[in-house]
Amino acid sequence: MSMWVDKYRPRSLDELDYHKDMAQNLKHLVKSPDFPHLLVYGPSGAGKKTRIAAILRELYGPGADRVRIQRQAFDTPSKKKIEITTYSSNYHIEVNPSEVGFQDRVVVQELIKHVAETHPLDQHPFKVIVLQEVDRLSKDAQDALRRTMEKYISSCRLILCALSTSRVTPAIQSRCLPLRVAAPSKNQIVKVLQIVSKKEGIIMPLELADRISDSADGNLRRAILMLESCRAEKYPFVDKQPIVEPDWEKYLRETAFIIVQEQSPQRLLLVRERLYELLCHCIPADLIFRGLLKELVKNCDNQLKAEVCAEAARCQWRSTRGSKTIIHIEEFVAKFMAIYKRFIEQAMMADDFDD
């Protein structure tokens, strides 16, 4: 038993619910003798992975679905062992190199070399390596990837998966066929939700579907998860059925509120505790930055907004390169507090002056 997201995930290119043109093109591509490297990109929850899985199935048949999970170890040049989880079938291997942090270069190089050395079973001319979150690869790893891509093209193809191409080096982009998976529109999401509820045998009012797709913001996975948790919360659905949202988002909003409420060193300590809490729940730092910023700027005037955003950008950039994210988030909070406090004090002075 699995969750609806996985349960009703389309398995083949024909079953896809939207972007049907692209599905057709992909079908032709798979049939053609020359299959290129692919770079699949698009926002979260748009269906990138579903499409990649469908392509693999189209290429290799149902054998590609039998995935086993393995730990593979690689040696770094400095003789340090790094381990990474791989999901592999007989025909392909899927891995998320950013899992090992800055050692990703080793993984990219060694893994591809390892896979490409052996020829695939059956008549298939090549194996496929799926790399997740390519945009989070370090520059080193991307450079390494570029070289390996060319070297082993005879025996393997890469399918890269990324949120956006902005952090993928042009060198890699130009070696792949870019494939943009756009977020589904609201109507498309509603349609999918209806299909899911029909299959699940529940009655879903259209109004609820609308609200869910509104709040899902183009993220289909999120929409289906929301639907499922709403169903678990209360069924049959009622009017004004509350939409369930993840705890951490609420928590983050509260944290932002705490920041705006009072600015003092003690408050900063309290915020730090909450930030740790978020990090402990495996919430990535950039989402925390984004969530905080979104809430915090609501309390600022336009000039202040610019200043705060600049600070956030600077801190967030540093956090991507630094190792202790908490330091960077905290820096942003401290900066915001300082700026905001100054702003409030000035406003109060101006008020006094007016009186």
Binding site: R321, K324, H328
Partner: protein, 718 residues
């Protein structure tokens, strides 16, 4: 090394035959001079060489040869001083045959197997008839050749200054020893027990800081019990590299590890050959001071060797282990508690030498050297040495020598001693650098120094007054008491760890939000610095660069925090807590592992899993409609991650110390540095261990209260 040149023959072109002990060498005068110059040799008694009386071959012209690079062997001092006096009083004398002095050395140092095998036979006269450069080259080779035999006595009028007193005044009996009686007794007790009963524990680890008299105590006790000390010396340090030589031959094609194992078992089984003139001892003791480096990397191999030894070894095996600040070569790793218990290994831990012992010992040396000395100086030296006797004696010799030789008798300099005098010495950094032992500040103290960032209110910083305009806000009226540079240099922790601690603890010391924001920025920059480089220069080649950058990062953090704290909150004692960052990483790793194992169907592991799938999953689970079949562990993990309730991390106060073993070992004065070191050791250790759920305040904790006082003294008594 010391040679006596004897002019035997001045035939063609004033050639000399050099008779240094058993070595003979024939060379031209100019070549000799050149040689002497190259090796920084001074000629003490310069007779016009051409006018030497050749008729009497017994009369030698002694030349003083000072070789700063190779200190004289142990026990050389005594004899030298007598021979000098002879020289000074106008007598020329024939140097002692090398064999005598060599023997005397053996007696003292105990036999070292490896040394015996390495002494190069150089009894054949070396004759050279070369010219110019090649002659010099030959000379250099000859010089190298006689070095192993370097027991040839030196003579000269002031050589004694350059024989380290550390070697010269090695204690001769247990009474002379500067180690506390109880420790010596402990060693004696252990050794006599082991020597007498064959079934007792055979392995002992003598640990303690450098210069605390570990080796001295062990060898003295061994001699007192009529046991022969066989010492392991890493073979590489004995082999001489010759050009074109295959290295493998030298160590018989075997690695250090095999040699080491072999050495242990063979010394334990066979006694050394009866060599004439050497007293045969009743027992044997094996001493290992340098464990082969390879074993540090593979402690397990080492443990295996020990296990084997404890089964089949015969003679007692003693390891002398120096505690170091860095954890790399830690006792912890090489002799873990479990192994100690398993093999019943005895651990005798030495404390730093108490300053009163040091003073006594140093005064004794001065009496023996008949140099009048100021007791204050000796006391200060003892205080600065941090319980390191070797360091103290070296410093003593250095300062006395310098004082005597300097022509202008300015104020005899006194080393900075304790905290009080250190402050004065800060004005003269050159002195403090020379005199003070290169000590490290333990984590706890370093943190205190940075976080309290004390400024000297009595002084006005002139440099800062230059700042005008925009920079005026960065002006600090009073200079810092502690030099940030110093803290960075001496802190015995990695930048990464230190940064974690600083970040964890700084908010409590800050009164204003603006200051805090700027401090946070410095920390962030520092963190960015250390990590960013990892991407840029991966690989071993960049190690050096990275090190520099780490230092920079540390500097930024330390300076930044010290500078930013403008409106300090009323200082008082603040509990310092362990950083949560390392804890955090552990939590993340564990939970990803659990979830990964549980949710195999979910393809890939991306951020979306934790931000979307898991939270909703948890929501569904909380509704209590169990239409999923999940293992309890996975279920818990998902609930933990997805739902926010309570706090998962807690700040844990540094568990300062367990009971510190000092007691009778520390006489009246008692050094507080010892306590501090213990603190530091405790801080370092529990880094990786999961934090306990401890209450934030320390009030109920007796240790805490104690530490409270300790820290308070540390930070405020000056």
């Amino acid at each position: 090394m010391n040679l006596t040149l004897q002019i035997a023959d001045t035939d063609v072109g004033g050639n000399l035959t050099w008779k240094g002990g058993t070595n003979e060498l024939k060379l031209g005068v100019e070549a000799l001079y050149a040689f002497l110059k190259t090796y920084k040799v001074q000629i003490s008694k310069r007779t016009n060489i051409s006018n030497v009386d050749h008729t009497n071959p017994e009369i030698a012209t002694p030349l003083k040869i000072m070789d700063h690079k190779s200190p004289s062997p142990k026990g050389a001092g005594r004899r030298t001083s007598t021979s000098q006096r002879d020289v000074q009083s106008g007598h020329s004398r024939i140097p002692l045959p090398s064999s005598v002095s060599r023997q005397s050395r053996k007696k003292r140092q105990g036999t070292t197997i490896s040394q015996e095998s390495s002494s190069v036979p150089v009894s054949t006269p070396i004759q050279t008839k070369l010219t110019g450069f090649r002659r010099l080259e030959a000379l250099a080779k000859a010089e190298v050749k006689c070095r192993p035999q370097g027991q040839v006595q030196m003579s000269g009028d002031s050589t004694n200054k350059f024989i380290p007193w550390v070697e010269k005044h090695l204690p001769h009996s247990a009474d002379d020893l500067f180690v506390h009686k109880k420790k010596v007794e402990e060693v004696t007790h252990w050794m006599s027990r082991v020597l007498q009963s064959p079934n007792a524990t055979k392995i002992c680890v003598v640990s303690g800081p450098s210069g605390s008299g570990k080796t001295a105590a062990v060898s003295l006790v061994a001699h007192a019990l009529d046991a022969e000390v066989k010492e392991w010396i890493n073979p590489m340090s004995l082999t001489q590299y010759k050009p074109g030589q295959d290295f493998r031959d030298e160590v018989q094609g075997r690695n250090q590890l095999d040699l080491f194992t072999d050495f242990l078992f063979r010394t334990s089984q066979y006694r050394s050959l009866p060599i004439k003139g050497k007293a045969l001892r009743k027992y044997r003791v094996t001493l290992v001071e340098d464990i082969p480096n390879a074993l540090y990397r593979e402690p397990n191999t080492f443990h295996e060797i020990l296990r084997k030894y404890s089964k089949s070894g015969i003679s007692p095996l003693i390891f002398v282990f120096t505690d170091t600040a860095s954890g790399e070569h830690s006792m912890f790793k090489m002799f873990p508690k479990t192994l100690m218990a398993e093999l019943n290994i005895q651990n005798i831990s030495f404390n730093p030498v108490a300053s009163s012992y040091m003073v006594k010992f140093m005064l004794d040396i001065c009496t023996k050297e008949s140099i009048p000395v100021d007791k204050g100086l000796v006391e200060d030296l003892a205080a600065t040495a941090n319980g390191d006797m070797r360091c103290a004696v070296n410093n003593l010799q250095f300062s006395l020598t310098k004082e005597r030789s300097s022509s202008s008798r300015k104020a005899p300099f006194r080393p900075p001693a304790n905290k009080r005098s250190r402050k004065q010495a800060a004005g003269n950094p050159a002195i403090s650098e020379v005199q003070q032992k290169d000590d490290t500040i333990q984590l706890f103290r370093a943190l205190g120094k940075v976080l309290y960032a004390k400024r000297d209110e009595t002084l006005i910083s002139e440099n800062e007054m230059i700042l005008v305009g925009e920079m005026e806000k960065d002006r600090r009226m009073h200079p810092l008491i502690e030099n940030p540079e110093n803290i960075c240099d001496k802190a015995a922790v990695s930048t990464d760890t230190f940064l974690g601690f600083l970040h964890q603890n700084y908010p409590a010391f800050y009164g204003s939000l603006d200051d805090m924001a700027s401090a946070a920025e410095y920390l962030a920059i520092s963190d960015y610095m250390i990590s960013a480089w990892k991407f840029d220069d991966s690989g071993a080649r960049a190690y050096k660069v990275r090190e520099t950058k780490e230092q920079l990062a540390m500097n930024i953090a330390v300076r930044g925090l010290m500078h930013s704290n403008n409106n300090r909150v009323s200082v008082g004692w603040k509990p310092l807590t362990k950083p949560l960052v390392s804890n955090l990483e552990k939590i993340l790793k564990e939970s990803t592992e659990t979830i990964r194992q549980g949710l195999i169907d979910t393809p890939g592991l991306t951020t979306a899993l934790f931000t979307e799938t898991i939270p909703f999953f948890a929501k569904v689970l909380t509704t209590g409609k169990p239409y999923f079949m999940l293992g309890p562990e996975l279920k818990n993990e998902i609930l933990n991650k997805g739902i926010f309730k309570g706090t998962m991390t807690r700040a844990v106060p540094l568990d300062e110390k367990e009971t510190v073993e000092e007691g009778s070992d520390e006489p009246a004065e008692g050094d507080d540095c010892n306590v501090q070191e213990e603190l530091g050791a405790q801080v370092d250790k529990p880094k990786g261990t999961p934090n306990k759920w401890t209450a934030k305040d320390l009030t109920g904790d007796p240790h805490g209260a104690h530490t409270d006082e300790e820290l308070f003294i540390e930070e405020y008594d000056d």
